[in-house]
Amino acid sequence: MGLWFSLFSIVILVLLVVGGVEVFSWDSLFGVLIPYAAFVIFLIGIIYRVGKWAKTPVPFRIPTTCGQHKSHPWIKANNLESPYNSLGVIGRMALEVLFFRSLFRNTRVELMDGPRLVYGGTKWLWAAGLAFHWSFLFIVIRHLRFFTEPVPFFVNLLEGMDGLFEISVPTFYLTDIVIISAVTYLFLRRVVIPQLRYISLAADYFPLFLILSIAITGVLMRHFYKVDILSVKELATGLSTLNPVTPEGVGLLFYIHLFLVSILLMYLPFSKLMHMGGVFLSPTRNMANNNRMVRHVNPWNYPVKVHTYEEYEDDFRVKMKNAGLPVEKE
């Protein structure tokens, strides 16, 4: 259900561009207005979502830990698995963001003959996820060659690494192959594994199809139905210098690619893809496990109005004295 809905959504989005560019030649709509709108929605959406998370009070420290908590000096504490200071939190967060450390611990339960319950590690999701995310980052950085002039040195460096094997002309990028294989795997596991298929929704399939279509249109443009990249760069630098132009004959495939990227940007802040910012704002990941060292005041504690004995005595001192009751202050 969700699968077909997502697939048809992508088809409709692509047909929208085909109609818009081929029939009505709304080049500036698809080349300038929608990308700008998408970028603005993306930025505002990210700020809105992050702001909303940041405003949510955290009643107590809830870091998830899987290592020795810091206690006596003669017990060796594990600052990465149970961080007790900011350094540990930053280290753990960096490993989480760069290498998906918690996903690496992914396990699977299997009932073997006997009957015997076996817990085993499964690294496939971790490996495909890591391959996908790193390729995506490389591809995004590589695209800076279209948006900047002169092109920064690191883009060239990355391109050299990515096209190391010089397969065909223009060179096949390794990340293109990796991202398409990884996304295909991430999609297939949702379809093939029954339990995963049962819990998969349109919100799971749609981003996968969207990213896969973006990657495929990109590869098609580079190797099979080439577009004039001189005009592409003119358009792209036009966008980044806020001086937009829509050169003639950029090619339909380019507009499809750009439109799908715009959809991705608009969709990102309001979907599960927002884990991009969310990982940094997860209380289970971004707090130090220092409950016994630092007092953590619940932010929504109501300021309770207290009436101390001294104040009571001030109020009733005369009456107390008259009744012969002892008072602390004369």
Partner: protein, 128 residues
Amino acid sequence: MSSSAKVIAGLIIFLCLITFPVWYNVVGGKASYTPELKIISEEKSCVESKEFMRIEHMQLLDDWRNSVVRKNNRTYIAHNGKEHNMSLTDTCLKCHSNKTEFCDQCHNYLEVTPTCWNCHIVPEENKL
């Protein structure tokens, strides 16, 4: 209080990174540059049409190389039926001998590093 400062700092770092092309172009100030190709040839047309050459020249040169080096076939029959000698030095560079004003214009602009000059000698005009 300190946590909101951290969130704002994080957002500012994110915004700086994501708007990199915008401020980089403002700082660099060269983004309005567009390549200008100078054609210094007597010939009226290239081996194929301008539109074809513009997007397919790298493929054509690659096919030529394979044909010459692997099959010893130096004759190229263009789409209009005209025959050409498959040779970078004798055919392409005969007209486009001005590498810096022709090849390099787009290649530098788009950060493309063709492997032609790994084997071929760079045309005379580029020697300093």
